[in-house]
């Protein structure tokens, strides 16, 4: 008797069992994981802004969230790392393989690090002070990469601005309130699949070189682009960017068995949930969406069931908070 290859596929592989009839809040677009995490492991994270939720919830669930710089939002004070090129250059800078020509941008009468302009809001008094802080930071990044057990990285964007001089990938274009935009010095780049795979692969080779036990969980941020430089709708650019990153993650998975993929992008943006988990701006993922994502993450990668997740937010029903928000809206 001949066999039909789909006859014995597991539940997660079949729409009828994985999706159809399953309540939206219980949808679990999972796959067998390659490795598990536990509370002894040093787990580090970074990436685009969605990575913040992962950091917050790892700490909240009592995991050993590995942080090598005091007060850092992520595992070190690198701020948001949106692109694979930024990640690769972070690694290269940490090991002296890449030295960006620009070490400081002006913000008013202060200076900031162009590669993490939002990390120290107050800035530094001189470019030298920026350079010194960068040295300390990169030492912390080296320690991070060498001592972590698992690195959770959220792939965020394909678009970005780079230096025409040495190719430095910046997290934000200069010119809004920091630095000065100069077309002769900066160029827009929108990375394709092959470039992303190349940069991420190079980072992973470097990481395993300095830390042979390191393992990596990749995920794709479901947060749409806030703006695009391409001459098309920001929705088109969002679909392009996320598609490229999702393909890149899969390509990398096929290349490295120490890398796994986590499906946060699918939970939030798959058609059955697009109307459910975004805030009123149709861009930010709301608490329920984050809770769903983290529930699935902990269930599959840690073998634990969680209910409470995220996010400590100031309550505007509090008079002082409300007045502060109104004052901020007034420009005070």
């Amino acid at each position: 008797m001949s066999q039909f290859p789909y006859d014995h596929r597991p539940d997660y592989a079949l729409w009828k069992r994985n999706v159809q009839g399953v309540p939206s809040t219980a949808l679990d677009p999972s796959a067998p994981v390659r490795f598990m995490i536990d509370k002894e492991m040093r787990i580090a994270s970074g990436g685009s802004c969605f990575a913040r939720h992962i950091a917050v919830n790892l700490k909240k669930q009592g995991f050993n969230y590995f942080c090598t710089e005091p007060g850092a939002e992520y595992s070190a004070n690198f701020g948001n790392v949106y692109t694979t090129l930024q990640l690769l250059q972070l690694f290269q800078r940490a090991y002296g393989e890449f030295k960006p020509a620009e070490i400081a941008w002006r913000r008013g009468d202060r200076f900031v690090d162009p590669l993490r302009p939002r990390v120290f809001e107050a800035g530094f008094p001189t470019p030298d002070a920026v350079a010194k802080a960068t040295e300390t930071h990169l030492a912390a990044v080296r320690r991070l990469f060498e001592e972590l057990d698992v690195f959770v990285f959220t792939l965020g964007l394909t678009e970005g601005f780079c230096s025409r001089i040495d190719g430095t990938a910046f997290p934000a274009a200069p010119g809004k309130d920091v630095g000065e935009f100069d077309e002769s010095r900066y160029e827009f780049r929108n990375l394709g699949v092959s470039e992303n795979v190349e940069y991420l692969d190079a980072f992973l080779h470097g990481l395993r070189h300095v830390n042979p036990k390191a393992r990596v969980i990749l995920t794709v941020s479901p947060v749409p682009l806030v703006a695009t430089m391409e001459e098309r709708s920001v929705i088109q650019s969002t679909v392009y960017s996320k598609s490229v990153l999702r393909v890149c993650a899969d390509e990398i998975l096929r290349m490295h068995d120490f890398v796994d993929y986590f499906w946060s992008y699918e939970i939030i943006t798959a058609t059955y949930n697009t109307d459910r988990y975004f805030e009123l701006d149709r861009r930010s993922v709301d608490e329920r969406g984050v809770a769903h994502v983290m529930r699935s993450f902990f269930r599959h990668f840690a073998g634990i069931e969680t209910e409470q997740t995220t996010t400590a937010q100031a309550d505007p029903c509090d008079e002082d908070v409300l007045n502060a928000l109104i004052r901020k809206a007034s420009g005070s």
Binding site: E279, L280, A329, S330
Partner: protein
Amino acid sequence: MPTTTESSLDFVGEATPYTYIGDSHAGVGTLVFEDTATSTRVATRPHLIWAFAARDIIGDDGMLGSSLVEALRRTSALSSSVLFQPVPGLRPVQTWRDGILVNESINVTALARNQPYVLCVGELNVRYLLGRFADDRIDFDVPFLTGGLEALPSYDVRATVPFAKLLPVVLDEIGPIFRGLKILREAGLQTLFLHALPPPTLDDEAFGTIMGFSAPARLRYKLTMLVNFLFERACADLSIGFINIWNDVTENNLRKSEFELDVVHLNRRAAILSVHEVHRQFSALQLANA
């Protein structure tokens, strides 16, 4: 006795202009009042700006919008001169002087101290937000009582948004109003008032016909009340008078029919109540500054 071809026009004295500037709600007409206690007269002076919304008050560059500046210049609240120092948020104007184009800075006039200016804005922004919320079938929490709204028909709600999530969206929409008020207040226009939004119509069908989209009355009221709530807070913070006749023209928070002019606007009776409130607050302000 004058014949039919002649008219008799008796001069009875001067009136202090009470200027209403802004969207169509500023269209109170030219109403004349007499304060019998002081024997002074007041005349409303409406200055409408077509399709005036929060984003017209202040631009992305942080400067006061040109339509509002022009309205305030025409009604003597602002003036320009080469002798004035530049004022933050007020963009200088260019004027020909002796064949040369010169920059003149804008500033508040001395005359403006003696007459009130009432800004009417925000109703269009509520419409924008309503379009989005109704389309998304959104309800939301608010930190104040909404007694009376339960009498309005309920609607199919997809999600109830916590106030913490709603507030940034609403403030993003109406924030330019507050920033504009702050610029004018800091420039020295002390006689500035912000008018509350009027209670919306109760008629869903008429609303849909006029606006071109549907939004249930319960949502319309809640959002309008929220914006007024935020207006009041911002005005208190900026030391700006807030003209709110909501309690006079509603019963259980719903618009009384006797104040209705059309789907969007209140009638002259409501305008008279508004002017009385302006007069009350303006007189108190004058007394305090005397």
